[in-house]
């Protein structure tokens, strides 16, 4: 108990709180801007974090990390432009709710609530069951990763809005794009057309910006052309979600947060996968599953609770094992070490107050995030009242600037433009862009772990069927592929 009180003392310092608030603000901004990644925000402020003594710098980085995952949902909902890969699933129902149903305030209120709920839920999981979850996460070897990827790919059927065949075609396109570049399993160079640029693979973020932001902008231009758009002024009276909405999404919030926490604690998987899995499960269990894709509240809450729940989950392997699951947590681990906190099994024994301070920091970051979110919703919603003649050129500029600043490369910009035009056409043909994105995210993971599993088993495929976790995910994938077909027959 004394440790907890020391920890509260460490966090409650006004300067430390200021750092946390500043971090959350920066994080939300970086998350909302497509092209500015969490890692970029963390790397830019890392020298500052090194300079601060004690918890101040760490709290700032925690704030950025939590804020950025949430920030991505703002642009996803209002502009159909996911600020981060983790918010792609949020566009599915968030954008229709904001634009078709003209309820941007409700959508943002839901996403803010869900994000904070997910973050707090996962932090509590981190506090009470970190060692247990860490043990489970260590059970994951290549076959399990492969099975998880296959399960993720099976979600394509549920996000492809009606047309499963086109969804699968989109997914295959994504899988193909994921094969470009040096194959790290064999060292072979694939589909690079002898260019240096493609050696590192097709950049994912430019494609994301292209198929969402640019394609959506082109669509809006076309809409303007066809009819003189009268933008009604949307006014909102309440930024907090209604009790009815909360009741409706409550089970979804719990389920999605649990999914997010679990996926977060497995090294190497993150918010992008978690949000899709959470969305898919919400749709499967919902009474209104037919209405998903048209602005369903559960469809907004699920991915946001799922991706923010990753934040607490991702700290489990970092703090208990000293193994960072992705770039962002690796940066934060570096910051912890600079302050003399060596993450790993010994951390909880040697530096208990600091660990508690991190826990409190994470909780506070989520609460601050919610407060900032709620108070800024009115401002954000004004964005939908901006006339297209002003909004669209600004978005166009942002797509270019955002893409260039991501890798300081013109090639990325070309990729963004090409995929934007392609995305526009594919949208017209009712292809699902989310399916393509899932293919790109999971293609490498599925392939590399498939090959890796077979290397480990000397080519014996039984490795996929003799391991319980692996078998569980493969079975879940099979169910999720077959179930929609069976249901259709019955209906």
């Amino acid at each position: 108990m004394a440790d907890v009180i020391t920890a509260i003392g460490m966090v409650a310092d006004p300067f430390h709180l200021l750092c946390l608030v500043f971090g959350v603000g920066v994080g939300i901004m970086f998350g909302a801007m497509p092209g500015l990644s969490v890692n970029m925000g963390l790397a830019l402020l890392l020298p500052l974090a090194f300079a601060f003594k004690g918890m101040a710098g760490i709290l700032m980085l925690l704030g950025i990390y939590c804020g950025a995952i949430y920030g991505g949902s703002i642009s996803a909902i209002l502009l159909k432009t996911p600020g981060t890969p983790a918010s792609v699933a949020t566009t599915l129902d968030g954008y229709p709710m904001a634009v078709k149903l003209r309820q941007p305030g409700r959508a943002l209120g839901l996403s803010t609530t869900a994000s904070a709920f997910g973050g707090i839920f996962s932090t509590i999981c981190l506090i009470i069951s970190a060692p247990l979850l860490a043990k489970i996460s260590l059970q994951f070897s290549k076959p399990e990763y492969f099975a998880l990827a296959v399960f993720g790919l099976s979600i394509i059927t549920s996000v492809s809005s009606g047309n499963v065949i086109k969804g699968i075609m989109g997914g295959i396109l994504g899988l193909f794009l994921a094969t470009v570049g040096i194959d790290a399993m064999s060292g072979a160079v694939r589909f690079t057309a002898d260019t240096t640029y493609l050696l590192g693979g097709v950049s994912f973020i430019p494609i994301l910006i292209g198929v969402f932001a640019l394609a959506q902008m082109l669509q809006s231009v076309e809409d303007c052309w066809q009819k003189s758009q009268i933008r009604q002024h949307v006014s909102i009276d309440n930024v907090l979600p209604t009790v009815a909405d909360l009741k409706r999404v409550f089970t979804t919030l719990i389920r999605s947060s649990a999914i997010g926490t679990f996926i977060g604690c497995i090294p190497g998987t993150g918010g992008d996968i978690a949000s899709f899995v959470a969305y898919d499960q919400a749709k499967r269990w919902s009474k209104h599953s037919a209405n998903f894709g048209n602005g369903e509240p559960e469809g907004v809450a699920a991915p946001e609770a799922g991706n923010n729940a990753v934040s607490g989950g991702a700290f489990i392997p970092v703090l208990t094992l000293g193994i960072p699951g992705d770039g962002a947590t690796a940066i934060m681990m570096g910051a912890l070490m600079v302050q003399g906190l060596q993450p790993g099994p010994l951390l909880f024994i040697d530096k208990a107050p600091d660990v508690y301070a991190i826990f409190i920091g994470l909780l506070l970051a989520n609460i601050i995030m919610a407060c900032m979110g709620y108070s800024l919703i009115r401002l954000f919603v004004k964005l939908t009242n901006v006339p297209n003649a002003i909004l669209l050129p600004v978005i166009l500029l942002m797509t270019f600037v955002g893409t260039y600043s991501y890798g300081n490369s013109m090639n990325d910009v070309y990729v963004m433009v090409v995929s934007g035009i392609l995305g526009y056409v594919l949208n017209k043909l009712k292809f699902s862009m989310s399916a393509v994105i899932i293919g790109i995210i999971l293609g490498g993971m599925a392939e590399q772990n498939f090959v890796g599993s077979l290397i480990m088993s000397d080519g014996n495929p039984s490795i996929f069927f003799t391991r319980p976790i692996c078998l569980f995910f493969l079975a879940a994938a099979a169910v999720s592929l077959i179930a929609p077909l069976m249901m259709k027959k019955k209906a």
Binding site: S37, N39, M40, L42, A43, L44, L46, P47, F50, S137, L138, Q139, F140, S141, K142, G181, I182, D183, A184, M185, G187, V189, T195, T196, Y197, L198, L199, G200, S203, P267, G268, P317, L321, G322, I323, P324, G325, G327, A328, A330, I331, G334, M337, V338, G340, Q342, P343, G344, P345, L346, G407, N408, S409, N411, D412, G444, G452, I455, M456, D458
Partner: protein, 320 residues
């Protein structure tokens, strides 16, 4: 009121612009006569990036009036950035980081740019390959490991960071030196995944940069048997070097600050002198030690030599 506000905004913006260009005084002597762009051919937040940013912040403090601007160019697996640096105007205002891949890629047919296109300032890190195994493993020394490997040819699962990447080549080198055979399991996303796999006992050993494994080694779940470096690591003083054990192997993942090859000697001298001082300072060493990385002070000609040596070694090894 609105107009006053507008005027204020304009003034603020103008002041901001003046402030930004304040660092570039054209009349001053190098390096204070303009910004120095540092191309980092890796994404922000990675190991190369953080060490580069650390190094240049120390250099900036040492070289009064200078302003270093890091620019990340992670395209094409890092090759694009290195090519761009090689082609940059050699006036001392464009520097960049190159990594050990510069010594490997030309011999794998992946790049044409080589160490001969650059002159170096210094290498802030040169992480050696270390032989790391789980605590329960039945071997406690390099000799015992080799003996075990000979008895179990092709059975030991050796984690690496991708086929053709540095830790894979370290393992291939090991096989050749000791006449053993491993089963190579690639973890393309990097050493953190190898650490997770070792801690979960999915693989038997790895040859990789020990800094990523430090938490697990300190906690006693993993043990370090030997290090491929010239001197023992400060963090693991009990782990012998391969050299001490009679096998002079040195595979190290370095990153070096370099300039295009025709950069004037005087300017290079200025940079090298500052780097010499920075790399041997306590603050600089602490910066890396706190991150679990053994700091190095390989400056100037010594760094050029290391890059050339490694290039020759990989040429021998990868061509065969």
């Amino acid at each position: 009121m609105k107009r006053i506000f507008a005027v204020l905004m304009m003034t603020a913006m103008l002041l901001g612009m003046v402030g930004c260009s304040g660092g570039a005084d054209k009349k001053a002597a190098y390096p204070a006569d303009g910004d120095i762009t540092v191309i980092i051919p890796k994404a922000p937040g990675g190991g190369t990036d953080t060490s580069a940013r650390g190094l240049i912040s120390f250099l900036q403090k040492e070289l009064k009036g200078s302003k270093f601007v890091p620019v990340n160019k992670p395209d094409g697996g890092g090759i694009t950035g290195m090519v761009e640096l090689a082609k940059a105007k050699p006036d001392g205002h464009t520097l960049g980081m190159v990594t050990v891949e510069l010594a490997m890629f030309p011999h794998q047919g992946k790049a044409t740019v080589t160490n001969k296109d650059f002159v170096s300032v210094c290498a802030p890190i040169a992480a050696p390959a270390a032989l790391i195994v789980p605590k329960e493993a039945p071997y406690n020394s390099l000799d015992e490991f080799v003996k075990y490997a000979k008895g179990n040819a092709g059975k030991i699962q050796m984690g690496n960071s991708g086929t053709g990447a540095i830790w894979h080549i370290a393992a291939l080198n090991f096989e050749k030196e000791f006449g053993v055979q491993f089963k190579h399991v690639p973890y393309p996303k990097g050493s953190a995944d190898i650490a997770a796999a070792l801690a979960g006992k999915h693989i038997d050993a790895t040859l990789a940069d020990p800094s990523v494994f430090k938490s697990q080694i300190d906690a006693g779940t993993l043990k370090i048997l030997a290090v491929m470096a010239d001197t023992r690591s400060e963090f693991y003083p009990n782990a012998p070097t391969f050299k001490e054990l009679g096998h002079p192997m040195a595979i190290r993942a370095w990153a070096a600050l370099v300039a295009p090859k025709d950069t004037p000697k005087e300017k290079m001298e200025v940079l090298r002198k500052a780097a010499e001082k920075v790399c041997n300072s306590k603050e600089f060493k602490d910066y890396f030690k706190k991150q679990g990385i053994d700091p190095t002070a390989i400056v100037g000609d010594a760094c050029d030599k290391m890059m050339a040596d490694d290039d020759a070694m990989y040429a021998r090894f990868l061509k065969k």
